[in-house]
């Protein structure tokens, strides 16, 4: 316990003693974590937008007016058994007309002979992953079916968003790994400097019989402290950025609490790792 308290005390005093190096190290790691957090926030928002769009994505097959009930049932059954299809629904020509009037009024339809809308089958797709490809696949497959006269265009935005969301997630993770490595290197070098600066004290500690753990613990704490403090600062900056962007992008989702805690923990873990590497390399 005494060794533990001593280590914490030493870690804090080293903070003030080498305030400039400490400041630089914390700022750099904070920037790395903020970039990681920002990427994660963008990825999270893309996925959320995609989720909303998914609910709106519908593939609509327009049918000939004289299609028989048996043909419709056959088509409905076939489509329902398709992979990725959540539900199918037959909309009569009359229903299409009513929906149009409800949305746009009946002025546009005045003067047109009869009901200009064909009956249709509306297909809801189930999952976002690969949705874009599935829409195209289904459209192509049923394009030449006898009764189908037209297909509505697949939702290209959803397709692009789906791709972008995945790319962003990979980018976030890739960046995350690179930045955390960079943070580890920075902490390793900061602790290396601390070891060099306190070489005399370390030697004295070793000569009076301090155990390796006693000698190493302050440096380990220092690294963890650097990382955790950077994580905390990154949390604060990300929160401020979120509050700022709310005015520009209304409805933007912030990083959930758990993700912020993970960022602080990641900072602390990689801080400890950086110290550990420095101690292994530069302290005999």
């Amino acid at each position: 316990m005494r060794a533990f308290l001593f280590a914490i005390g030493q870690a804090f005093s080293s903070f003030w003693r080498r305030s400039f190096v400490t400041f630089l190290s914390i700022i750099t790691i904070t920037i790395a974590l903020v970039i990681l957090g920002a990427f994660l926030t963008i990825s999270l928002n893309l996925r959320s937008t995609l989720g909303n769009l998914k609910r709106q994505v519908q593939l609509e097959f327009y049918l000939e007016k004289g299609i028989t009930k048996a043909d419709v049932t056959g088509l409905l059954n076939k489509l329902e058994s398709e992979d990725g299809v959540e539900s199918v629904e037959f909309a009569t020509a009359e229903r299409a007309r009513i929906e149009f009037i409800e949305e746009f009024g009946d002025e546009l339809l005045r003067g047109l002979p009869g009901n200009p809308f064909p009956p249709s089958i509306r297909v809801e797709l189930s999952h976002a992953t690969g949705m874009g490809e599935r829409v195209t696949e289904l459209a192509e497959k049923y394009r030449d079916e006898l009764q189908i006269i037209e297909l509505s265009a697949p939702n290209r935005i959803a397709y692009r968003l789906s791709k972008a969301s995945r790319t962003f997630l990979f980018l976030s993770l890739g960046w995350g790994i690179i930045l955390l490595f960079a943070a580890t290197v920075i902490i390793t070098n900061t602790i290396r400097l601390a070891i060099a600066q306190r070489g005399n004290s370390i030697e004295i500690m070793q000569l009076v019989g301090a155990s390796p753990a006693f000698v190493r613990m302050p440096f380990l704490f220092e690294g963890v402290l650097h990382g955790a403090l950077s994580g905390g600062l990154a949390w604060l900056i990300l929160w401020s950025l979120y509050r700022g962007s709310e005015y520009i992008v209304p409805g933007i989702i912030p990083l959930p609490l758990i993700m912020n805690i993970i960022i602080v923990l990641l900072g602390a873990i990689f801080g400890g790792l950086g110290s550990y590497i420095a101690l292994r390399r530069y302290l005999n």
Binding site: R2, A3, L207, V208, S211
Partner: protein, 227 residues
């Protein structure tokens, strides 16, 4: 009974420079010995091998119950807690006061707070430094710094006190005081091995003298007892 046994020890560094060549001697419990020789004779190397700062190239060193052949790295701190080490350049922690420097060696060995306080006070008064307890090293004279360093070395009641040119940076009066202090420590039962190139010191008292010359032990003059 031997507190220290050095047997056929050889130590060389790069380009064939032999620092110690086939050195053998032993030191009994409570014995005092000067280790003399000119600069570069191998005195500091020998002391460094005894506190296991480095390992001998060949031969064996047995000190305070540990031997250089079988000691594990994690046992080195345990060996050093049974040794007291004093250097010419004092090696005090500049950011700590005199009493903190002494207390530090007790703290690292996990002694209780109350004991640390009383032992530090005891050592400060033994060294005649009670009034300097709160002084930082830069506020102390050379002799005072060295007495703080001796107090720190004695904090854990060592079985063997190693001193590497402890009077090297002291004026004659401080040197005289320090030597008397070492004799007193030895009188209380701690074995002392003091390396020095100051031959005048060995004339103060008829103690045992081990003489190193170019890494070879060329003389071992027995002592005639305390002055």
């Amino acid at each position: 009974m031997s507190i220290l046994r050095v047997k056929d020890v050889r130590k060389s560094y790069g380009r064939g420079w032999i620092a110690l060549d086939n050195v053998s001697f032993s030191l009994d419990d409570g014995e005092f010995a000067f280790l003399v020789g000119s600069s570069g004779a191998g005195k500091s190397t020998l002391l460094s091998l005894i506190y296991m700062g480095e390992k001998p190239g060949s031969g064996i060193i047995e000190a305070v119950g540990f031997d250089s052949d079988n000691i594990k790295p994690e046992e080195i701190p345990l060996l050093r807690r049974k040794l007291g080490i004093v250097f010419q350049d004092f090696r005090l922690l500049p950011e700590m006061t005199a009493s903190e420097n002494i207390a530090f060696s007790l703290k690292v060995t996990g002694q209780p707070r109350k004991f640390i306080k009383s032992r530090t006070f005891e050592l400060l008064s033994m060294m005649g430094l009670s009034h300097k307890a709160k002084s930082y090293p830069h506020e102390l004279s050379g002799g005072e710094k060295q007495r703080v360093s001796v107090a720190r070395a004695l904090a854990n009641n060592p079985l063997l006190l190693l001193a590497d040119e402890p009077t090297g940076n002291l004026d004659p009066q401080a040197t005289d005081e320090l030597i008397r202090l070492f004799f007193e420590i030895n009188r209380q039962g701690t074995a002392v091995l003091m390396a020095t190139h100051d031959t005048a010191l060995i004339d103060i008292a008829p103690m045992r003298v081990l003489e190193l010359e170019n890494g070879v032990l060329v003389g071992d003059r027995p002592g005639k007892g305390m002055p």
